[in-house]
């Protein structure tokens, strides 16, 4: 008798728990409950929840306070680790527990749209105020899904103490770097798993973009990184890898590259704005330059754009859009975000406001020929194969570059087809 009672209770409880599905933690519920109370008290007409990482959360504080005052609403900024925002949002938004707005990267848009989690944002006439690449980056299948605020791309950073004028081609740059007698002629981070992002300018200079584009310039899910151009790039990677001239080395991870450059061990590094502070703190005088071409065509780096997305399950769609269009897309906010994160503002007027900074101007110049990183969901299937194959070419594990590159293209195609 006793036992059967316990078992019955146990079974009942399990079923009850299973029925509630992916219920969320109690912390989330408390927040929502609290928010409802505020509304009932009549103190404010609504509550907006924003997920952002710590840097962006800090940059938003002032403008959020202004918004709260103007509209008589409450805005709650929840700090999250940047790498967790997308996955947590995908898991929580369909349950209705997600935030109204998230701050994220443009290349999330494909996945978020495929899951039906973000609403198109109508920039209206304001679209013309943004840099074209920023709006294009947030455009997926013809609709704009986010309000962009920051643009970032990698560039060539020069240690002015070791080199003063930079040649026009990558081979000449390597020769110049070797002539200085520094430990490394040029630093490009990669690691044993490879780093296709930092290697991409070299690849595009051989005319092998990752995906093809249609006539409007949007990516289509058709691989373009194979063929003769891809093979030429693979050969080039092998020739400057460990089995070749030894310029590239898979042991050079991001940390090692940053430290070596900060120690003055190399005249050049390919890196982004996020690494400038450690260099200047180490007392290195740097100039930011466009990346020289290795294969003859322009060396176009990936351009990443950060921006605000609106949750399609949001109960506060009007408030969220009001905040994005009339507050986040203003010069003050975009400049504030630049000052805390170092990313070039997506709003043209804000970008001009910061252009007297030579570092910022250098990254803008290097990004002018850049291309947005594809936001296609298919892009997720590319990274792992791409990086590892490049690492194998550099380390000399892949002895036949053409075959290794062709196998990689087949595998990526297979992964895309299977997805």
């Amino acid at each position: 008798m006793r036992r059967s009672i316990v078992i019955t209770a146990a079974v009942g409880l399990t079923m009850a728990l299973a029925a509630c599905g992916g219920g969320t933690g109690s912390g989330e519920e408390e927040t929502t409950a609290g928010a409802e109370e505020t509304t009932e008290d009549g103190g404010s007409a609504g509550t907006l929840t924003i997920w952002a990482d710590e840097f962006r959360a800090a940059a938003l504080t002032d403008i959020v306070a202004q918004f709260e005052e103007d509209k008589g609403v409450t805005v709650e900024i929840v700090e999250k680790n940047f790498d967790d925002i997308k996955d947590e949002f995908i898991a929580q938004a369909p349950t209705g527990e997600g935030p109204d707005i998230i701050v994220g990267a443009h290349d999330w848009s494909g996945e978020l749209v495929t899951n039906g989690l973000v609403s198109p944002v109508e920039l209206g006439d304001a679209a013309a105020d943004f840099s074209e690449v920023a709006v294009n980056a947030f455009t997926y299948e013809g609709s704009v899904y986010g309000v962009p605020y920051g643009i970032e791309n990698i560039a060539l950073v020069r240690n002015n103490a070791l080199a003063s004028d930079t040649p026009a081609t990558f081979d000449e740059l390597i020769a110049q770097g070797q002539a200085t007698g520094a430990e490394y002629p040029v630093l490009i981070q990669m690691g044993e798993e490879g780093d296709a992002f930092h290697m991409y300018p070299l690849q595009t200079s051989f005319g092998a973009p990752v995906f093809a584009t249609d006539d409007t310039g949007s990516y289509i899910p058709e691989l373009a990184l194979g063929g003769d151009a891809g093979t030429a790039f693979a050969d080039y990677l092998a020739s400057i890898g460990q089995a070749g001239s030894g310029v590239l080395d898979t042991a050079i991870t991001a940390d090692i590259a940053r430290e070596a450059f900060a120690n003055g061990e190399s005249p050049y590094i390919l890196t982004g704005p996020w690494n400038i502070a450690p260099f200047t703190e180490a007392g290195i005088d740097v100039t930011v330059l466009p990346i020289p071409s290795a294969g003859g065509e322009p060396a176009a780096p990936f351009v990443g754009v950060q921006g605000f997305y609106v949750n399609s399950y949001s109960e506060n769609a009007i408030l969220a859009n009001e905040f994005l269009i009339n507050y986040a897309a203003t010069e003050d906010v975009q400049v504030a975000m630049y000052e805390t994160g170092g990313r070039i503002p997506a709003l043209t007027s804000a970008a001009e406001a910061v252009s007297d900074d030579p570092i910022a101007a250098g990254f803008v110049a290097a990004g002018e020929i850049g291309v947005p990183m594809p936001s296609l969901p298919q892009m997720n299937s590319v990274w792992a194969f791409w990086g590892v194959t490049e690492a194998n070419l550099v380390s000399g594990v892949a002895t036949d570059p053409a075959a290794a590159w062709a196998t990689m293209v087949d595998n990526i195609q297979g992964a895309i087809d299977a997805a």
């Binding site: 509630c20 899951n115 039906g116 013809g142 269009i325 969901p377 590892v388």
Partner: protein
């Protein structure tokens, strides 16, 4: 009515207060599952602890609750997910997918102007829009009533502030009806022209919807091309030519995820080599740590060794570090070019510890040995001290040598107490994700393999790599693979424990 009863009463009062708080919170956000289970827990808790007859249940109840929440629910939910197509593109319900597809295909009419817009309500409380059209002045309309001219409306600073017959909503009132307003479409007389909608309550744009959903047939039609997308039973809207709409939903797919591991040629090849390595890794992990731990235990159990206590405490140190941290440190130490081991200990030899398949396997076993031997050292030290010294004396009298004593006495007696722990350790290492992920990330990858798995990947890290990390996320597949691992571990443990029982019977 002793003091213990009062203590019990106050503890139960606290539990009930917490439970009621949870029930109240769950009720506010309509989480009926949590509410129901909490009510059940509270009722059973009060019954068990106030009844005089439920002695055994009093001890079992807390454990049972935690077992239910942290084990059974997790297992049940994983099993449920493994029979669905949950993953990227199949993330929510059918209604959500329909809404998302329709919303994504409602596009602004190219080159159409933006209209200053005001939200109004009619006499019967029906929501409507008042817009300023450049040519026609103020227009007003509702869901039912297409736009008509409102020549008597007042316009201040480019905004409509008054419309006869309608009342203008304040911003606060707009916020209270956000969902109704964003879903409101007000059309023009000419239907094909599209309809006005707003996202921020102050600007309207002309939109045309390309897709329409038909409730009766459950299909979505593209009004421009005439293509009909119907429910294909697999959680997507599919046209006749096989193309699907972007957003799908979650449906049950039966055993698809389970058979995929063996029938999908991209998975099945690597799956077998990973499976073999998982067994080898788990076995070697247990064997190496056990014998090293045992060796140290025997050596430092000998009374002749000086400073035993200090050495013993030092030996346990690796056990005190978090495993993932040690993994990261080992990855750094073993770096081919900059690692301490190559750089300092081996004088700059560039040995590819983590990038050669065999050396990488050796490295993870080695790192695990460092992490795992203290545990074995602890348990064998305890077990050794439990063996009576009389049996050793008897062996000595019989003239047995040290090796013989170890094989015939120490090891069998030791195995009785530590064998269950070895089985548990095997099960743990079978799923030792942290070590693999932080030391090698499963690499070096099999060259040319169609999925991104490598020589040191074990099953659980392969699950992570295939179903979550690379490409589109496939939680259904990940759950199915986890269930398979669970069954394997369960089977091995069951067989192992049966053998252990035989061990006891022999002695």
């Amino acid at each position: 009515m002793g003091p213990f009863f009062l203590v019990k009463l106050s503890v139960l009062a606290l539990i009930n207060a917490f439970g009621l708080f949870v029930i109240y919170s769950a009720w506010q956000v309509s989480h009926w599952g949590i509410l129901g289970s909490m009510v059940a827990i509270l009722i059973v808790a009060n019954w068990v602890y106030f009844s005089k007859r439920m002695i055994a249940a009093k001890y079992l109840f807390p454990g049972l609750v935690f077992l239910l929440v942290y084990q059974l629910f997790t297992m049940g939910y994983t099993a449920y997910i493994s029979f669905t197509n949950y993953g990227t593109g199949h993330n929510a319900t059918r209604e959500d997918a329909i809404a998302a597809n329709l919303a994504q295909n409602e596009n602004r009419v190219p080159d159409s102007p933006s209209y200053p817009l005001t939200v109004v309500t009619g006499a019967d409380g029906e929501l409507g829009f008042a817009i300023i059209d450049g040519d026609d002045g103020v227009l007003v309309g509702t869901e039912e009533q297409t736009f008509e001219a409102a020549p008597d409306a007042t316009v201040t600073d480019g905004d409509v502030t008054e419309v006869p017959g309608y009342s203008v909503l304040t911003f606060g009132e707009v916020l209270e009806q956000q969902n109704e307003i964003t879903s409101l479409r007000v059309g023009f007389d000419d239907v094909d022209e599209g309809s006005i909608r707003t996202q921020d309550g102050s600007t309207g744009y002309l939109y045309r919807s390309v897709l329409t959903y038909d409730e009766a047939t459950g299909a979505i039609t593209n009004t421009d091309t005439g293509v009909v997308y119907s429910d294909n039973g697999e959680g997507s809207f599919e046209a006749e030519d096989g193309s699907t709409l972007v957003v799908g939903w979650r449906v049950a797919v039966g055993f698809d995820n389970f058979t995929k591991m063996f029938t999908d040629s991209r998975l099945s090849g690597p799956f077998l080599s990973v499976l073999v390595w998982t067994f080898v890794f788990a076995f070697l992990s247990v064997a190496t740590t056990f014998f090293l731990g045992l060796f140290f235990a025997i050596v430092f159990n000998h009374p002749a060794v000086r400073g035993r206590k200090i050495i013993r405490s030092l030996l346990i140190l690796p056990y005190a570090f978090p495993g993932f941290l040690s993994g990261l440190v080992w990855a750094g130490l073993l770096n081919r070019r900059f690692g301490f081991i190559n750089q300092v200990l081996l004088g700059g030899a560039e040995i590819p510890w983590l990038t050669d398949p065999w050396l990488a396997k050796l490295s993870v076993i080695g790192a695990n040995l460092w992490l795992g031997f203290p545990y074995m050292f602890l348990i064998t030290t305890g077990a050794l001290q439990a063996i009576s010294s009389e049996v050793y004396e008897a062996a000595k009298i019989d003239g047995a040598r040290a090796g013989r004593v170890f094989r015939s006495i120490t090891l069998p007696l030791l195995m009785i107490s530590v064998a269950p722990l070895l089985i548990a350790s095997f099960a743990f290492n079978f799923n030792n994700f942290n070590l693999i992920y932080f030391v090698t990330e499963g690499g070096p990858n099999f060259p040319g393999s169609p999925i991104a798995v490598g020589a040191t990947d074990i099953l659980i890290s392969m699950v992570y790599s295939v179903a979550i990390e690379s490409g589109t996320q496939q939680y259904g597949l990940a759950s199915a693979m986890s269930i398979l691992i669970f069954v394997m571990v369960g089977l091995i443990s069951w067989l192992g424990f049966r053998q252990t029982r035989k061990l006891e019977e022999v002695i």
